[in-house]
Amino acid sequence: MKALAWHGKHDVRIDTVDDPEIVNPRDCIIKVTSTAICGSDLHLYDGYIPTMQAGDILGHEFMGEVVEVGPKSTLKKGQRVVVPFTIACGSCYHCNKHQYSACPNGLPADNQDIAQELYGHEMSGLFGYSHMTGGYAGGQAEYVRVPFSDVGPIVIPDGVDDDKVLFLSDILPTGWQAAEYAQIEPGDTVAVWGCGPVGLFAVQSAFLMGAERVIAIDHFPHRLELAKRFGAETINFEESATYEALMEMTGGIGPDAVIDAVGLEAHGMFVDNIIDQIKASTFLGTDRPHSIRQAIIACRKGGRVSMPAVYGGFVDKFPLGAFMEKGLTLKTGQTHVQHYMPALLNAIMEDKIDTEFLISHRMPLTDAPKGYDLFKNHQNETTKIVLKPGMAG
């Protein structure tokens, strides 16, 4: 089969590799019909995530048709499914608490050493996202082996288009969880850093959860335009001073909840950011956390900080003093995708959430290397690329 493989920083290629087969009893194999490039794939593309190996197949947002099932799978051949990016067993202590991204049973034992060393504990396995998360082949391929297929994938009713439901695999639940973690109360003002796919879904979700105002922060005019479409007010940080603007827009109080949907590769030429870039390039610090710093400083006293953004290692100049003195609460984590999928599928079917607005490009899988370049270098207009393995090149 053909698959998009990582070969090094800014080097991804279409390789021909063996088709996947059933290995474990609960596996299924799906034939991919749609798969997206995620903002977090750019962290791999840019070489920020350790434990990548040449030939690793990328992609963790995908859906398709079931073509093979193991003896313990409950799926049937021919069913269409969306696959959560977190590989979770569905019945351990953490899964029973719906903390699916903390499930230790999807991560191969040998791979658990790295996370245990770095984070103190192992996390769930993820598709196509380095060997620290299991070394699983990802979904930017014609076929994928899906473990725990009896509990992970959600079956999509006939007649519902791929493009409507594909984002159930990651970014929609991630944006929703981000808003949920912001513990929004009626009348709240919520500020969202980053109008990428997660930020834009967080904007929609925050309004659905009762936020009175949402203020979206970015520097790409087109992305801010999309946020505006859902009713958000905007701050372009290249045009306006973010902290001062937030204070004036909230009568000096600050946003009740702040959401960092930017993460470890923050854009922008701020002094602390430039120092971070130098440190990251010399491996002195791995993450560039400008957005979370600014979010904490801007958040009102006693407010909530939600951090869906991906951070991988250590940061410095974290405003721990501001965080403590103002009595903030922080909620974060990889998304517990399986927990949100059923309700969000319903919300899509009832037209409560718009997903298709996000897709700026559809292209064949074989054009994926071009897609990565586009997503990396033309972020204003490239909001989301969906790869279609069946599409003619």
């Binding site: 590799v17 063996d18 088709d19 996947p20 087969e21 059933i22 290995v23 474990n24 009893p25 609960r26 313990k72 590989i87 067993c89 019945s91 351990c92 202590y93 230790p104 049973n105 999807g106 991560l107 191969p108 034992a109 040998d110 791979n111 658990q112 050493d113 192992e122 396995g125 299991g134 070394g135 699983y136 082949a137 082996r145 473990p147 725990f148």
Partner: protein, 191 residues
Amino acid sequence: MTDRRDDAPPTTKKHGDAADAATASLIEGKGSSVVGRSVTIDRPANELFAYFRDFTNLPHFMENIVSITVADPKVSHWVVKAPAGATMEWDARITQEEPDRLIAWTSQPGADIANSGRIEFRDAGARGTVVTATIAYDPPGGTIGKLIAKMFQREPAIQARRDLRRFKQLMETGEVATPAMNPKQYEEMGL
């Protein structure tokens, strides 16, 4: 004199007589290196004990085992992978057994590597069972041998940690997690 004792397990001690203290918990402690590791498995103790007590099950989650043959209810013969393609063998005799609670064993004279150990199953209520493995052994070739084993990831501390994780996965989900894309690759990767 300040009393420096605390409630932490002897295998986590930072100073001095750590190995002695931990080995003392074994019936017939052998060797200077001690490994202790606990994992919580969401299954009742009797189920875990029964699976483990049938030693022919152990290769399903212990990566380094080539074969285990059970000679009689108390004695089994172990063939285990060593660094650089070598194997080590020994007879293990069960020295203590409490149903659903613990199994202790020790290697018999003539072992390639003298070792002893115990595995305990403690009821943890709604969370299942805490399984603790304690293993004492004399690394062949002393400290150098231990370093070489570590390089080849055949060091008992690394193995015990990974084997217990696989035991948990197998008992909780019915399978051992693997990124292998097909059975052939699975075979090549080992557990």
